[in-house]
């Protein structure tokens, strides 16, 4: 072990008893060595203090980073809460908006005549319609329309069945074909509702105003209510 190493080991407390005693004896008679040891002690202390100060500085900076990190997390949390509130309010407003389907007036259907063979298919379609099975009724009315494509009763109930199964395009197509007969007025009203459902607001308003302006129309009140809701 050279002198340099010996001094370090002495100051670090790494010498065993014998080595330490021998070193102390050596120091007693050697002033230069004593000075060297003192100087090394100051150097080591200075380095350690500098290192501790650096560590303290790093901890202070880390402390700030913890607070900044938590602040960021809080900001995100607040932003998330605000977003949730905004989404909830939007959903509420959206759900509060008038829904065209709320203006789909009741249609009780036609009586089913039992025991008449010619009307079996129609009866089945109407029974399905009355039972609320619009998927089935739309299929059955469509089959009947192949034989009677201009029959306004079949067109009307087929159109309602399509509308209620969200096939609004088909419903519009069939309502449009009704240009006379018992179902004309109701078909015009329902066509307006179907247009509105599809986003055809202007077309819907035009049709509804026609009904509303007709004082003798049985659907005048309904048309007025829809127009009011649309405004």
């Amino acid at each position: 072990m050279d002198k340099d190493e010996l001094i370090d080991n002495y100051l670090k407390g790494h010498l065993d008893k014998t080595e330490e005693l021998s070193f102390l004896q050596k120091m007693e008679g050697d002033e230069t060595l004593r000075k060297e040891v003192t100087l090394r002690k100051w150097v080591i202390e200075g380095i350690n203090i500098a290192h501790e100060e650096d560590l303290k500085k790093k901890l202070t900076e880390f402390d700030k980073s913890i607070d900044a990190k938590r602040k960021r997390t809080q900001t995100w949390y607040i932003a998330a809460c605000i977003s949730a509130v905004v989404v909830t309010i939007s959903m509420f407003l959206w759900s509060a908006k008038p829904n065209p389907k709320d203006f789909d007036i009741t249609e009780i259907g036609l009586p089913v005549v039992m025991g008449v063979n010619d009307h079996v298919d129609f009866n089945n379609a109407m029974s399905a319609f009355k039972a609320g099975d619009y998927e089935k009724s739309s299929n059955l009315f469509e089959k009947l329309l192949i034989a009677s494509p201009t029959n306004d009763t079949l067109l009307y109930f087929s159109a309602i069945s399509f509308y209620r199964t969200d096939k609004v395009d088909f419903a519009i197509e069939r309502f449009k074909k009704i240009d006379s007969g018992t179902y004309l007025e109701k078909a015009r009203y329902r066509l307006a509702i179907a247009f509105w459902t599809q986003g055809g607001r202007d077309q819907a308003i035009t049709l509804l105003k026609e009904i509303s302006n007709n004082e003798s129309s049985r659907l005048k009140n309904e048309a007025d209510k829809v127009l009011e809701a649309m405004n």
């Binding site: 340099d4 407390g13 100087l39 090394r40 100051w42 150097v43 080591i44 202390e45 200075g46 380095i47 350690n48 203090i49 500098a50 290192h51 501790e52 560590l55 303290k56 790093k58 901890l59 202070t60 880390f62 402390d63 913890i66």
Partner: protein, 191 residues
């Protein structure tokens, strides 16, 4: 809410001994709030003072582990850390109280004692200042050897020296450079 550290005492002590600063930051983050809240509530110090004391407690823990004074603990590292923090806190309160009494209870210290202590502090301060200015790679070599306690082989590996002999030679040169500068500074004081 900071996470509690699920580490054995021995693992923490070993990590500190190996020079890991990450473990110190983890300990700091895990226990800072609890210590600060306790100190502010029970001893009426400010949050900043409490944080400062806890940071010093962290340095104290580091120093004691590196100095070989904490090889094993009968309590958790957290309890040990809070113990150092509590002592530091009581010292601060005592200091504050002494400052308030100003010189009323001043105890005379022998003149030569003050002068000797002053000289020592001055020399350590000088060594620290020159060490800080010594530049690379001497600063790193000396820090690794004296402050981090790494052996020559480890220093050679970390700083890319060929072997431990090269690292040892470098450390010797850096040490001499530092000591010479301290001696020159001291001599200049008397010229």
């Amino acid at each position: 809410m900071p996470r509690e550290l699920n580490l054995e005492n021995s693992a923490i002590i070993e990590a500190i001994k190996a020079g890991s600063e990450k473990i110190l930051f983890q300990l700091y983050e895990a226990y800072r709030d609890e210590f600060v809240n306790w100190a502010v509530r029970n001893h009426k110090v400010s949050v900043e003072e409490a944080k400062d004391i806890f940071q010093e407690a962290m340095v104290g823990l580091y120093k004691n582990v590196k100095g070989g004074r904490v090889d094993s603990l009968t309590v958790t590292v957290k309890t040990y850390l809070f113990g150092i923090g509590k002592n530091n806190l009581l010292n601060l309160i005592k200091r504050k109280s002494i400052e308030q009494k100003v010189m009323a209870e001043f105890e005379a210290v022998p003149e030569y004692g003050i002068a000797k202590r002053y000289d020592e502090e001055h020399m350590v301060y000088l060594a620290k200042r020159i060490y800080r200015a010594i530049g690379s790679p001497c600063k790193e070599v000396l820090e690794m050897f004296y402050a981090n306690g790494y052996d020559m082989e480890s220093i050679a590996l970390r700083l890319g020296y060929k072997n431990s002999d090269v690292a040892k030679k470098k450390k010797y040169e850096c040490l001499k450079k530092l000591e010479e500068r301290i001696s020159v500074s001291e001599l200049m004081k008397y010229q």
